[in-house]
Symmetry: C2
Subunit: 421 residues, 2 copies
């Protein structure tokens, strides 16, 4: 180990995006390895709007493995953390730092402890798949720290064991999680389909919907579905495999109509099998339903899909607009139907890529009040304008995969103490 005393600290900081599935993962065939009953496809979200930053560090002075999430110490004793740490440590390689004057041999990693600090640049508990970005970032940064030789695909199989959907956050653009066939999970990995530049007209608007009811965790929810739903196996074996092929083709061809149809149908089918679970699981609420109705009516009135929607295990809507022009129209319609509360600050009601708000011609609350009702809604029931049903909107786009942050100012741990800054 180090030859000049034991005070050195080695540190790596990385940033990893979150992702949203357009063909859904729901149901495991192996609970402990986290092997899914079907493949899934996701779009990676731009990390400048939604991402996790993680700093991992190692030092002979550390007494135990520790982790801080958003500044608060959390336990690492959970099986999923332990499994990721174990898998990475077992693949660790020699690390030598001539400048700091130490060398860590492969075998030393078993004895060294790590400090981990992680931070989400978006509100936690907003149902925005923070565990996907979190476990991806943990695995990616630890792999760099411990000098693993594995490629991103092989790392994705480790991240998968932390949180299934985390494996898809190892790449940017559109990503497939191949369910694999092996019982050890070695081929249940993420595969990049196209990078984020392939289809760069797409704009994504996320409505963070206010939830009144406590939600079922996705871990227990998907277990209940696999155990009780008479429809889930038919979905996994007969429906999804065809959709995966069609979705890959739609993405490759930038065929928005097929992409939107598949995304919406698959989101709805995922929520259908949740409802087919005993007891039933409801993730979408009346606000989610209103957002779907708005998009469906608009798409039908245009004759061809303008916007795709997809909902994960919660009421939040992720809407994917075919281009920027459509996205500004979408934002106008959404702000009309779901205006901010009177005392709200518009600047915190629409976050992320704020230029979309400007392009939509909305700069002040008065501009929101002046918005015209979406014509496709007024033909039937007059649009409700209830305040408070949406907490805020995030404007974003497809984004890149994990990156290392080399600027020490971006590290979350102090390079002297190894504690959170």
């Amino acid at each position: 180990m180090g030859e000049q005393g034991e005070n050195w600290i080695l540190m790596v900081t990385a940033q990893t995006p979150t992702n949203i599935a357009v063909i859904k993962y729901w149901g495991k065939r192996d609970e402990s390895l986290i092997l899914p009953i079907n493949s899934s496809i996701s779009v990676t979200l731009d990390p400048s709007h939604l991402c996790t930053t993680t700093t991992v560090s190692v030092s002979p002075s550390f007494k135990q493995d520790c982790m801080w999430l958003n500044g608060k110490e959390i336990s690492l004793s959970g099986g999923r953390f332990q499994r990721c740490l174990r898998e990475i440590r077992s693949r660790a390689c020699d690390v030598e730092d001539e400048k700091k004057g130490f060398k860590i041999a492969k075998k030393d990693w078993e004895k060294l402890h790590v400090h981990i600090a992680s931070y989400n640049n978006f509100p936690t508990a907003a149902g925005l798949a923070s565990s996907a970005a979190g476990f991806a970032c943990l695995v990616f940064s630890l792999a760099k720290l411990m000098n693993l030789k594995e490629d991103h695909g092989q790392l994705s199989a480790i991240a998968r064991q932390g949180s299934g959907s985390a494996c898809r956050s190892l790449f940017g653009g559109f990503v497939k999680w191949d369910m694999g066939k092996e019982s050890d999970g070695s081929d249940s990995i993420a595969i990049p389909l196209v990078d984020e530049k392939h289809w760069d007209e797409l704009v994504i608007v996320i409505a963070v919907v206010s939830a009144h009811q406590k939600e079922t965790s996705s871990t227990s929810g998907m277990r209940d579905t696999v155990e009780t739903s008479p429809l889930i196996q038919h979905r996994a074996k007969e429906v999804v495999p065809k959709r995966i092929v069609q979705m890959e083709e739609a993405i490759s061809n930038r065929d928005f109509s097929t992409f939107a149809h598949l995304s919406c149908s698959d989101s709805n089918q995922f929520h259908a099998v949740c409802l087919d679970t005993s007891p039933p699981i409801f993730y979408m609420n009346d606000t989610s339903h209103r957002i779907i109705s708005l998009v469906e009516k608009w798409n039908r009135s245009e004759g061809t899909p303008q916007v795709a929607y997809t909902f994960d295990a919660g009421p939040n809507a992720a809407m994917i607009a075919r281009n920027r022009k459509v996205a500004t129209l979408l934002l106008q319609k959404l702000l009309y139907c779901f205006p901010p509360q009177a005392d709200a600050d518009l600047d915190s009601y629409v976050i992320g890529d704020k230029s979309l708000l400007k392009e939509a011609g909305v700069g002040t609350m008065n501009d929101v009040d002046a918005l015209a009702p979406p014509p496709e809604l007024t033909t039937s029931v007059p649009a409700q304008r209830t305040k408070g049903d949406v907490s805020y909107f995030i404007c974003t786009r497809p984004g890149k995969g994990p990156v290392l942050l080399t600027d020490e100012n971006q590290a979350l741990l102090d390079s002297k103490t190894g504690l959170p800054k």
Copy 2:
């Protein structure tokens, strides 16, 4: 025809119950004959609380077929009315009234016109399957008027062509609609399983839930599901046939646990395939979801099901309590979670069998305010007590099939003019 002038009027009045499916009908294999893709099972509701009364009359003085629904003239030109009228007329037999001194020969029926008046003893447009009771009553009363020799099963095949679920209203108790095999629909008929006395401990509470969104009609909804849902055929071919067998057995054995499990699961699966439709169909809303959560939590806390729930093509909940004691507890819990609005009249908030309200110890609005929170809810999220989410409750029970009303005071048409009273 009549020998003593043409001024006679022949009149029949009947009363027919509505029904609620516990194994759901959703999807037709023949749109025009109304042949379903799966069999279904329903419970007939007590006509003293929910029923249709219909008076049909014939006279040589009538110039055309006319119908009044709840006092308002409606068109009989729709295909479903025409089909029922044609099917019944083609089976009409000789009728002779010695007292009034006329005879109608079989062949005369083609030339004679009918007047029909129908009345629902419950609010229309409340999503309470008024068309089921309505078409059953139309067919039953016309069959009596025209002296058909067909039995109730054969009449059910005619009522089915008016509204699918109407066929199940030809019998009391629990009723199976056998999907049949014949392409002409002759074997797609209702079959009585047990009469209303077989399982007379059951008590039914219906929550009429306030709907904000316009609902998809069941006719177009089930067509869309059959055309677009990848799950519906699996449900119809693989899931429902097994459930039909299990449900028949549960009813025969008065096995409430199995009955409740099947009823709830099948209701949820019906709504799941609605969600799997493109565009998705939402019949349940947040209030429906809260009712399900309440019942599910209570059933789990008791270890064995106390209450079954089922939802038709709308947000209303039909809850079936295993006995009267359970039903009073259910009503207390429901009134706690869904209290009437401050200016409401308790007497119009709980209708039907009002003795249940007395047994629940609730006589005044003060009694509602004094209700204790359901213990199974307080353990997690505190129960919301939002007023106005439920319009009213109907307390009822399994009931009898169609009956003739012989008291002329109960007729809806004037025996002299043939017009609504």
